[in-house]
């Protein structure tokens, strides 16, 4: 997938329309891969990972990499869980399927945006995580040998039943991976941790357009 030069953190910036838009198919992270017996039992007969697809556009400027996501969601005012979205990048050159969001052997670097509540104004909008399976997410700063990023940003708008979100972070992470997956959580359906909808194929990132 080609990377647009520029475009920035505003999901409504008209320049995003200049980029290639990919429609990415999503599927629930498999129930058998959920990290513990409780979650597997409690959610075995419930629908989760209910978001079917998302539009993805990529951009870059300087040392920043921008991912614009757009998907449909019915936001409920007093839902216990927030809508959320994440992009993740494998460290291995031949990673296993993205739908499990990493594994113990092949961890992925994850940038997760959450639709923060007003009372959460002091919390980062985008979390810098290392994922080793669905819901097995640890802050990157707690993992030895991982340089945590302090440049993550998330900007979102919600209108006409659609989220438009730009997640941005260090280009270096993307250059090192050249692949990415995405995940979407429908908060009104109590989706969180490993109960999200995840891209079924890796998205190959073509950096030629930005001279890399």
């Amino acid at each position: 997938m080609e990377v647009l030069k520029g475009s920035g953190n505003d999901p409504n910036d008209p320049s995003w329309t200049n980029g290639a838009k990919a429609k990415v198919s999503l599927a629930p992270a498999p129930i058998d891969s959920q990290p513990n017996h409780y979650i597997r039992e409690a959610w075995a007969n419930k629908d989760y990972g209910t978001t079917k697809e998302a539009d993805v556009t990529l951009g870059s400027e300087g040392k920043k990499f921008y991912i614009r996501l757009e998907w449909s969601s019915n936001v409920e005012k007093h839902a216990e869980f927030p809508d959320a979205a994440a992009v993740f990048f494998p460290a291995s050159e031949s990673p296993s399927t993205p739908v499990t969001i990493g594994s113990r052997e092949n961890p992925v670097r994850m940038w997760q945006w959450k639709n923060r509540l007003p009372v959460q104004s002091k919390l980062p909008k985008v979390l810098d995580l290392i994922a080793t399976g669905p819901g097995v997410f640890h802050p990157a700063k707690t993992i030895n040998g991982t340089a945590p990023s302090d440049s993550l940003q998330g900007n979102a708008t919600y209108e006409d039943g659609k989220w438009k979100v730009v997640i941005s972070g260090d280009l270096d992470v993307v250059v090192g991976s050249k692949k990415m997956g995405i995940a979407i959580w429908n908060g009104a359906n109590q989706e969180r941790a490993g109960l999200g909808a995840v891209s079924t194929e890796w998205i190959d990132i073509d950096l030629a357009g930005i001279g890399l």
């Binding site: 990290p35 513990n36 979650i39 409690a42």
Partner: protein, 364 residues
């Protein structure tokens, strides 16, 4: 306390347990307030009461918690309901400005501000003293509750990120708030529903057994502040402790809802009750006012033997005999309640330069 003694306490390896004597609990909420003041005074913790005392029978907190599922049955973790913010209730904002500064002091009354989320229709002690039964045989008693720091902590088993753990020093079930991602499966799995969610910080939180106090030999705040001298603290396997004798020898201290399968480490001496009154107001000496089947529903089949033991020991003393059990439950010396945790917190060096372990919520 000397440094040597502090070190010996901080290196404890054993399960800390507590016994609450319900025959002495007067529902004063001093335990609840002691905990609240010490641990849950920050933003996002307004509705959190890690220690609560509710009237039984009642719906308690969160509302209807006994029917929310979770726990273990036949070795299998059971799905549970995640209590909502409305089911906990409380943590209210009041219309102070409207009443005191809005020029409407004669028209409006002080009340919680309704945010439309249901939180003003329940609270941590909403059904106080309602109880059950018909006059003159109405009845109730108080049930203090905190995290049970279970031997089989299903909250730990249900956590996807590995944020929760049971530590070996004292058996406290704790959460690394740096790792917690706010998924709240712990709240679903816990059958006692004693885990809260901090919406401001996006992490779950619950009673920490006052572990920073235990580490320096100070009893948990709920126990030390109880004016009724009804909360025993100690090591579960210390055969010389009141805890061990009450639980294992006299078998008068019982876990709450043992059928939940998590092996709680908080125990209760079940409440005795007056006899029922007949319609002619004569006493029915065959029937206790609190239905035994209700107590069995809370404390299991062992409750009948426990009550029989308490009654026979009382009868023994009334007829001039002695009872080590009753002597223990009377607690002539306050510090006898606290096992190895008798240090007076005011005796510790808490100056900013001291190396003393923090006793309050400056843990973050």
């Amino acid at each position: 306390m000397t440094t040597t003694e502090e070190k010996s306490v901080s290196e404890l390896h054993g399960q800390v347990a507590m016994v609450f004597d319900l025959n002495k609990c007067m529902g004063c909420q001093t335990c609840s307030i002691a905990c609240k003041v010490l641990w849950t005074g920050e933003q996002g913790e307004e509705h959190q009461w890690w220690m609560t005392t509710n009237t039984q029978p009642g719906l308690g907190t969160p509302k209807g918690w006994e029917d929310m599922g979770g726990g273990i049955k036949n070795g299998v973790l059971q799905p549970g309901h995640q209590p909502t913010r409305a089911e906990f209730g409380g943590g209210w904002d009041f219309n102070y400005n409207e009443v005191f500064y809005g020029g409407k002091g004669r028209e409006v009354h002080l009340q919680p501000t309704d945010k439309g989320d249901g939180t003003t229709r329940w609270g941590m002690n909403w059904d106080e003293d309602q109880g059950a039964g018909e006059y003159p045989n109405s009845y109730y008693f108080y049930l203090p509750r905190l995290c049970n720091h279970c031997t089989n902590p299903v909250c730990v088993s249900a956590c996807p990120s590995g944020a929760m753990y049971k530590r070996s020093e004292d058996g406290a079930v704790l959460r690394d708030e740096e790792i917690c991602q706010g998924a709240r499966f712990c709240m679903e799995a816990c059958p006692y529903k004693k885990i809260y969610f901090n919406y401001a910080r996006d992490v779950a939180q619950h009673c920490i057994l006052c572990f920073p106090r235990l580490e320096v030999g100070v009893a948990p705040a709920c126990a030390r502040q109880c004016p009724g001298r009804l909360v025993f603290v100690g090591l579960k396997d210390d055969k010389n402790s009141p805890i061990y004798k009450l639980v294992n020898e006299w078998k008068v201290a019982l876990p709450l809802h043992p059928e939940f399968g998590t092996e709680p480490n908080i125990y209760y001496i079940p409440p005795l009750s007056p006899y029922r009154l007949n319609e002619d107001m004569s006493i029915d000496e065959e029937t206790p006012r609190i239905p035994p089947e209700y107590l069995e529903s809370l404390f299991g089949e062992g409750v009948h033997g426990a009550l029989d033991t308490l009654k026979s020991e009382l009868a023994n003393v009334r007829s001039g005999g002695t009872s080590e059990l009753l002597e223990t439950l009377i607690v002539y010396k306050w510090l006898d309640l606290f096992g190895p945790f008798t240090t007076d917190p005011s005796s510790l060096d808490r100056s900013p330069d001291s190396q003393a372990v923090t006793l309050g919520p400056t843990r973050r």
